[in-house]
C-alpha cells in the first residue's frame, strides 16, 4: 500500500484497502475557521440538535484567520459565533481574538490556520486531519492525511467524528538533485502544476519523495503540499523523517506513528525531476498551471508585490525575501506588502536577528528596502476578502504574489492580474518593478 492508503486503512480499521474503495474513517483532528465555521456549526445544530455535543472537544480546532482586521460587521459577527460555540462546547483549541486594534493583545490568537495547525502541534504523521478549507492539504508535509471538506461534511464530522472517504490512488513525484540557491519549494510546486495541469491530480494523492525533498525544512515541505489542491489533488504527502520529528519536539504530547509507502506499493504514475536543472518559475494570470520561466516575463511591468498567506507567509518565506533585499542593498520600486501568516511568524520577523544579515532582523531589512510595515497576521488579501482588507487589490493592478491562486478576482479586483511566484522572485520583482528572476540579485 501507499502511505495515503495505509493512513486510511488504519483510520478505518482495515488490514488493507484499494484505491477507489469508500471507507468510513475516524477523524483525528477537525479544523474550521471564521469563513466556514459558522455554517458548519449551523448544520451541526440543525442536524444533531441545539443541545448536541461535539464528538470530542479536544479534537476540534477552531481558528479565526480569514476576515479579522475588518470593520465588516458580518465578518466580526462570524468570529463571535465561533467564540460562543467554543465556550458552549468547551473546545480545547480555540485561538481567539477579541481586540482587533492590536493583535498582540490577544495571546491566544494565531493567524492563518494551516500554519497555526503546524506550529501548535496538530499536524502529526499517520493521522487524519480534515478542515473546511481547501489548503488543509498543507499538513501532508508531516505525513498526515489532510484534505479539505465542505460545511455539511464538517457538520457531520463534528457530530460523529467520522467521514466517508474514497481512497485515492497516488501519483509519485521523485525530486532528486541539489536545490540551487535561487530556487524555493514554490518553484518546485509551480513546476509540477505546470506539468500536470490544474486537474492533473483530481481525486488523487500526490506523494513527494527523493533527495531534494529530504533536504527541505518543514516550511518548504508545507509550501509543496499546500498547493496540491491547485493540481486538483485530494491530498499530498511527504514521508516523515528526522526533520519532521525534530519540528514536532515539544509541540505535541500526543503519540503518533508514521507510516510509509511499501516498496511494492502501486502508484498510478511516477514523475521524475532533476531539481538542479530547474529555473525560477511563475504562474501567469489566471491559472496556477499557466507556468512560465520568471526570466521570460522580465518585460511584465508590475504595480505591487504581496508576500503572505499559508503558502508564502511563513518565517522561511520572509527570510528568503529579506535575503534578496539584503543582497541587493536597494529599495523596492513598487509597493511591497508583507503579511506574516501567524503571530509567531510576525514575532520572528521582528525578533530573529539573522547572522547572515549582519545580525539584522527581517523587519529591519524590509524597512531599509522601503517595504510597507509588516501587517497584522491573517489571510489578508490572498483571497480578497472584505473591501477594507489590508493590501486588497481594489483596482485592476498587476501583482506578483507568494500566495497560491491567481484566479480572476482572487485578490479583489476582477480585472487584476496575479503572477504567483516564490518569495525570492517576489522580492526581486519588487526591486525592479518588473517580474524578475532572483538570480539577478542572488548570483
Amino acid at each position: 500500500m501507499t502511505m495515503t492508503e495505509k493512513i486510511l486503512a488504519r483510520a478505518s480499521e482495515r488490514a488493507s484497502l484499494e484505491p477507489g474503495e469508500n471507507v468510513w474513517v475516524d477523524v483525528d483532528v477537525l479544523m474550521t475557521h471564521d469563513v466556514c465555521g459558522p455554517g458548519t456549526i449551523g448544520i451541526f445544530k440543525k442536524e444533531f440538535g441545539e443541545d448536541a455535543k461535539v464528538w470530542d472537544r479536544e479534537k476540534v480546532v477552531i481558528i479565526p484567520d480569514h476576515y479579522i482586521f475588518t470593520s465588516d460587521e458580518r465578518a466580526n459577527r462570524n468570529v463571535d459565533i465561533l467564540r460562543d460555540f467554543c465556550m458552549e462546547q468547551k473546545i480545547k483549541y480555540f485561538y481567539d481574538i477579541k481586540d482587533l486594534s492590536d493583535f498582540k493583545a490577544n495571546p491566544d490568537y494565531k493567524g492563518v490556520c494551516h500554519v497555526a495547525l503546524a506550529q501548535e502541534g496538530h499536524c502529526r504523521p499517520g493521522e487524519v486531519l480534515l478542515g473546511t478549507d481547501s489548503h488543509t492539504c498543507n499538513a501532508g508535509a508531516f505525513g498526515q492525511f489532510a484534505t479539505g471538506i465542505g460545511n455539511t461534511d464538517a457538520g457531520f464530522v463534528l457530530g460523529t467524528g467520522k467521514a466517508l472517504l474514497k481512497v485515492p490512488p497516488t501519483i509519485r513525484f521523485v525530486l532528486d538533485g541539489e536545490m540551487p540557491p535561487y530556487l524555493l519549494a514554490k518553484d518546485l510546486i509551480l513546476q509540477i502544476i505546470g506539468e500536470i495541469s490544474v486537474s492533473g491530480a483530481t481525486y488523487k494523492s500526490m506523494e513527494f519523495v527523493g533527495s531534494t525533498i529530504e533536504s527541505l525544512n518543514m516550511e518548504e515541505r508545507m509550501t509543496l503540499c499546500n498547493m496540491v489542491i491547485e493540481a486538483g489533488g485530494k491530498n499530498g504527502v511527504v514521508p516523515a523523517d528526522e526533520t519532521t520529528f525534530k519540528y514536532l519536539e515539544g509541540k505535541t504530547s500526543v503519540g503518533y506513528e508514521p507510516v510509509y509507502s511499501d516498496a511494492q506499493a502501486r502508484f498510478v504514475s511516477d514523475y521524475h525531476f532533476d531539481v538542479s536543472k530547474l529555473e525560477p518559475v511563475v504562474a501567469k494570470p489566471h491559472s496556477p498551471d499557466n507556468r512560465a520561466l520568471a526570466r521570460e516575463c522580465k518585460d511584465v511591468k508590475i504595480d505591487r508585490v504581496y508576500i503572505g498567506s499559508c503558502t508564502g507567509g511563513k518565517i522561511e518565506d520572509f527570510l528568503a525575501a529579506a535575503k534578496v533585499f539584503f543582497a541587493s542593498g536597494k529599495k523596492v520600486k513598487v509597493p511591497t506588502f508583507l503579511v506574516p501568516a501567524t503571530q509567531k511568524v510576525w514575532m520572528d520577523v521582528y525578533g530573529l536577528s539573522v547572522p547572515e544579515f549582519g545580525g539584522k532582523t527581517c523587519s529591519q531589512i524590509f524597512e531599509e528596502a522601503g517595504c510597507d510595515t509588516p501587517a497584522s497576521p491573517s489571510c489578508g488579501a490572498c483571497l480578497g476578502g472584505p473591501r477594507d482588507t489590508y493590501a486588497r487589490m481594489n483596482e485592476p493592478m498587476v501583482c506578483v504574489s507568494t500566495t497560491n491562486r491567481n484566479f480572476p478576482g482572487r485578490m479583489g479586483h476582477k480585472e487584476g492580474q496575479i503572477y504567483l511566484a516564490s518569495p525570492y522572485t517576489a522580492a526581486a520583482s519588487a526591486l525592479t518593478g518588473y517580474v524578475t528572476d532572483p538570480r539577478d540579485f542572488l548570483m
Binding site: 469563513v35 466556514c36 459558522p38 455554517g39 456549526i41 449551523g42 448544520i43 440543525k46 442536524e47 440538535g49 480569514h66 476576515y67 465588516d72 458580518r74 465578518a75 462570524n78 459565533i81 473546511t132 478549507d133 481547501s134 488543509t136 479539505g148 471538506i149 465542505g150 460545511n151 455539511t152 461534511d153 457531520f156 490544474v198 486537474s199 483530481t202 481525486y203 489542491i229 486538483g232 485530494k234 491559472s287 483571497l383 480578497g384 476578502g385 472584505p386 473591501r387 491562486r405 484566479f407 480572476p408 478576482g409 482572487r410 479583489g412 476582477k414 480585472e415
Partner: protein
C-alpha cells in the same frame, strides 16, 4: 429551433411546485423549500408530459434556459470571497448568496450576468460548463449560491473533487458530467435545454442536439433527497429527527 416538450410550456412562472401534477420531492429543510416556493423561478424544474411512473418520479427532469461558462471555473468566480461572510445555514443569508452567484465571472467574457441586476434568483435552471468545474476553494457557499439562485443542475465536462462532493452533500445542485469531451462548447447561454437524469441525456432544443451524460449513480438519490443528512434519514441510516 426544436420545440420544447409540451409540459415545459405548461410550466408557468409560479413554477412546477404549484402545478398539481408534480409531486414535489422533499428537500432538506423548510427554508430551502420555502426558498423554492417563494422565489420567482421562471424555469423551475418541471415534469415531462409522459404518464407518471415510479421511475419517473425518482428521475427529475429540468427544463429551461442554460447559462454557459468555460473551463476551470473556480469557486472564486462562482462566489467571490468578499461574500463569504454570508452564512449559508441562515435563511436570509442563504438567499443573499444566491443573488451573488457567478458575480466573480469577468464581465468582458460574460456580458450577460447569471443573476440579473436587482434580482435575487436566476432565470437559468441549468449551468453548462467545461472541464474542472468548481476548482479551487472548498467553500460550500459555491454550490449553495448556485442552488439558492434557482439552478437545479450543472452539466460540465468534469468537476473538481470538493465542489462535486459539496453539491451532493448539500443537495443544492445535480453535478452531472457530459459523456463526450468538448460537447459543452456547442451550447450558448440562453439555449433551451432539457436535462433528463433518468435517461442521462441533455437535449439542446435550440441547436436540436442531444448529449449523453455519465450516469450520476448513487449520488443521484442523495441530491434528490436534499443532501446527505436528509438522505440518511430517509433511508434509515440515521434516526429521523424533527429538523426545523
Amino acid at each position: 429551433m426544436a420545440a420544447p416538450p409540451p409540459a415545459a410550456a405548461a410550466t408557468t412562472r409560479t413554477g412546477a411546485l404549484t402545478v398539481g401534477l408534480s409531486p414535489y420531492t422533499a428537500r432538506t429543510s423548510a427554508f430551502r423549500r420555502a426558498q423554492i416556493c417563494r422565489h420567482r423561478l421562471p424555469t423551475l424544474r418541471c415534469r415531462r408530459a409522459q404518464p407518471l411512473t415510479a421511475a419517473a418520479s425518482s428521475s427529475p427532469v429540468f427544463h429551461g434556459e442554460c447559462f454557459v461558462v468555460g473551463e476551470n471555473i473556480d469557486t472564486d468566480q462562482i462566489i467571490p470571497a468578499e461574500h463569504l461572510t454570508l452564512v449559508p445555514s441562515k435563511a436570509d443569508e442563504y438567499r443573499k448568496l444566491g443573488s451573488f452567484a457567478f458575480s466573480g465571472l469577468p464581465s468582458a467574457a460574460y456580458p450577460t450576468p447569471f443573476v440579473a441586476p436587482g434580482e435575487e434568483s436566476s432565470r437559468y435552471a441549468v449551468i453548462v460548463g467545461g472541464p474542472n468545474f468548481g476548482c479551487g476553494s472548498s467553500r460550500e457557499h459555491a454550490p449553495v449560491a448556485l442552488g439558492a439562485a434557482g439552478a437545479r443542475a450543472v452539466v460540465a465536462e468534469s468537476y473538481a473533487r470538493i465542489f462535486f462532493r459539496n453539491s451532493v452533500a448539500t443537495g443544492e445542485v445535480y453535478p452531472l458530467e457530459l459523456a463526450e469531451a468538448g460537447a459543452w462548447k456547442e451550447c450558448k447561454t440562453g439555449d433551451i435545454v432539457t436535462v433528463d437524469i433518468g435517461k442521462a441525456v441533455m437535449i439542446n432544443h435550440t441547436s436540436g442536439k442531444e448529449y449523453k451524460l455519465k450516469p450520476i449513480g448513487d449520488a443521484g438519490p442523495v441530491v434528490e433527497a436534499g443532501g446527505i443528512f436528509a438522505y440518511a434519514r430517509k433511508t434509515g441510516m440515521i434516526a429521523s429527527k424533527a429538523s426545523a
